[in-house]
Symmetry: C2
Subunit: 191 residues, 2 copies
């Protein structure tokens, strides 16, 4: 239980690896990996992602005010990593990886066709926080690959096979088994 101070850091477990899809100059599909983000409201369903000024995606987001978030599976961890290395200013990341940009139905933004889940988002507001700008988007629709649905019609995490990012060691790690039911496992402590 003894704690060691390691100073102010962006430690958190787990960080997601979110692939932000936008159209860039010349309407070229662009995608960028972001680990700084998460759901920020239940109603309207909303998600927040932070992007640094200077990124091509930053310009694209302000221009179109619509974006997608594609959730990668472990099958495409290398491609997802590339989306965080290269810049859409220099290259076509979809062409480089061989992945398929598909125009979203509800917003003017592309998503990654091969990835198992995608959120279609419209920008609600931006918040400047130090070196990052947080883009808050309303989730207008969610799409999942037919192949990752369970027998009950719900997305099945064992088929989605997401992964997480460890910012302390700059590594990606996979997921494991379901361990407990939420809003249930803790009931034993109720007095």
């Amino acid at each position: 239980m003894k704690k060691i101070s390691i100073g102010p850091r962006t430690l958190l477990y787990p960080h997601p690896d979110l692939i932000i899809g936008t159209y860039g100059p010349g309407d070229r599909p662009d995608a960028m990996a972001a680990a700084w983000g998460g759901i920020c409201s239940s109603d309207p369903p909303s998600v927040a992602i932070s992007v640094q000024r200077g990124r091509q995606t930053y310009e694209n987001l302000f221009k179109h005010r619509e974006f997608t978030i594609s959730i990668p599976s472990v099958d495409h961890v290398k491609e997802a990593d590339y989306f965080g290395i290269a810049s859409g200013r220099d290259t076509d990341k979809f062409a480089d990886t061989g992945l398929t940009p598909i125009k979203a139905d509800h917003v003017n933004a592309p998503y990654v066709g091969e990835f198992p889940a995608v959120l279609e988002c419209r920008l609600l507001q931006t918040v400047d926080i130090g070196v990052h700008t947080q883009f808050i988007g309303e989730i207008l629709d969610v799409k999942v690959s037919e192949s990752v649905l369970g027998p009950d019609g719900k997305p099945d995490i064992k088929k989605i096979r997401p992964f997480a990012y460890d910012s302390m060691r700059r590594e990606y790690y996979g997921f494991g088994d379901v361990i407990e039911k939420a809003f249930s496992a803790g009931l034993e402590f109720r007095r």
Copy 2:
């Protein structure tokens, strides 16, 4: 690759399970589980968490403007779940679970002594987004249990053993092995 629309939802993989520590009325230590949140800036290191109006933690956050985020391990998934079920208005959740509230060093807020990692945060700003309010906090310090440090002195995820929340099935799931190095695995796609 065929996609099915499932409508606007708070789908994301992985969601974290973040335990927000605050002092409540009478300076009683309080803690609440939040899955809507994540890192939102690298500099200053900052984290965003969303809390609904009506929660005791919502009042506590506005009163003290300081909080902690404790990261639970799978060893305490039941206790963490309880923090998301009970209200600090009705009960002392630390007493109920037998966990130890420890006052943070840099902020006037308690953290969970038994959990492997904790962020000490000072409120920078709030953003209203529908039914939730997002609390953005600067991370003033991070503490980790001595027992979860690797031989190189960095936090080791295999010792921290975090878990994630699946909002589609309301279940918690564990994590697996490291699968790739970030900012490295994708270099093979560079032209």
